[in-house]
Symmetry: C2
Subunit: 229 residues, 2 copies
DNA sequence: GCAAAAGTGTTGAGTGTACACCCATGC
DNA sequence: GCATGGGTGTACACTCAACACTTTTGC
């Protein structure tokens, strides 16, 4: 794929440059594992490989808007946390032509939606980030990069709200931190820290129905990004 | 500016998308202020405005290579620290057409080179980031973003090496931290921290010639990015 | 000898880490 | 009554911030 840029109206000078795409990392936690939503390509040189949902940036569309469109059209998700990650620009990252890609990452609570296959790709599915299938382009590298960003960001922000339902128990949020950081945390220390950070507050609700003592439920004070340092 | 993307060789399907540029923030410290290198535009709708040095991404060139080329061609600098910052993609950021720009930032020791004007622009000069002239595009926003990145990164890495000569005194490096963070630091605490972080080591040299007690000189153990947390 | 920057330690507050037991419910 | 996860406090180590005086040189 090539791009011919026509500079100005009168001037017919032609500039050849890369095309521009957006790919979106959609993360969710499922069965105590960090997962990313992938689609399976159903034609062309990458047929059968898995890839991040993505799309070409339209002329009158900001990059953020492209990311939102991809989220909605390809995954059926709207209005969730979305952040630009990094722009990948190796010359040979797509064998079909020169396309640079701006990677975004998004967080969802996976209970809220089940991915639906459609005509554009062979399959769509959650995949564990620690056990990825064979992937097209440099998308495996994008996932690694996104996981890394998520790991650092959870340490100094309330970004975990994107992965949790409105109300949750302290054990549930601790599990989110453990899954993302990839290590176990001490229950008492975790709770002390949460209390200190002042990001969450108790609701009046209690979670019954487990075969153990019921847990108090909490919610984030703000469901928008807040930094803690 | 528009971009016509021709998909494949046989297929004449035409995709219209944004053009792609790279703009580089070149930071240096001069007279105890953080400065950025700007050029003054000498024609077109932005004539007279200041801007970051930049260039259009060529077809067979990675983004990193474009940034290196811009550094060398427009500023005459080679082989310094360079890092991708963020991609700016608002539709109307350039009145001449749709161009998304990948911003990079670079650090130099300003003693090492003096910018030279050339035929392509009206002027080239260091400008203090706290006192920027009228700027074209969204370049002021880019500078703000870059300063912010630099401020956070200096807190958990040895990135300051890019702004310092090979050898320096503890007071000189402290000044770099103070200028970037925009606040005074305690001398004893700063030295204690530096010693603990183990990023620098003493050379055998001593800086004489001041009208005061001579200072011992230090150097970074590694002049490549190292994280401290 | 005086001006100027170099160099050097201690204390208290706050944060991070390690660790063990009782409680409320479902079955 | 027993299995399961919920909930709580203390002690030590470490890091961070505040703070003042002596040393070595140039002039």
């Amino acid at each position: 794929m090539k791009i011919a840029t026509k500079k100005g109206a009168k001037n017919s000078e032609l500039i050849i440059g890369p095309a521009m795409a957006v790919d979106v990392l959609i993360f969710a936690i499922r069965e105590e594992k960090l997962n990313v939503l992938l689609i399976q390509i159903n034609n062309g040189p990458y047929k059968g490989k898995w890839a991040l949902p993505g799309g070409i940036v339209a002329l009158e569309e900001t990059l953020d808007e492209t990311a939102e469109r991809v989220l909605e059209k390809k995954a059926g998700i709207k209005g969730i946390y979305l952040e630009q990650l990094y722009t990948f620009g190796k010359v040979d990252r797509d064998v079909r032509g020169r396309i640079a890609s701006v990677a975004y990452f998004a967080l969802v609570n996976s209970d809220k939606f089940a991915p639906k296959t459609n005509e554009y790709y062979a399959d769509i599915a959650w995949k564990e980030v620690d056990d990825l299938p064979s992937m097209a382009f440099d998308h495996k590298e994008m996932v690694r990069y996104g996981v890394h960003r998520l790991q650092s960001k959870i340490e100094y922000s309330n970004i975990a709200y994107g992965l949790l339902p409105k109300e949750f128990t302290l054990t549930e949020i601790q599990k989110v931190y453990e899954v993302i950081l990839g290590k176990e945390l001490d229950k008492r220390n975790f709770r002390k820290k949460m209390k200190m950070l002042d990001l969450i507050e108790p609701t009046k609700h209690v979670k019954y129905g487990m075969r153990n003592r019921p847990a108090e439920m909490y919610k984030f004070k703000k469901r928008s990004l807040v930094f803690t340092k």
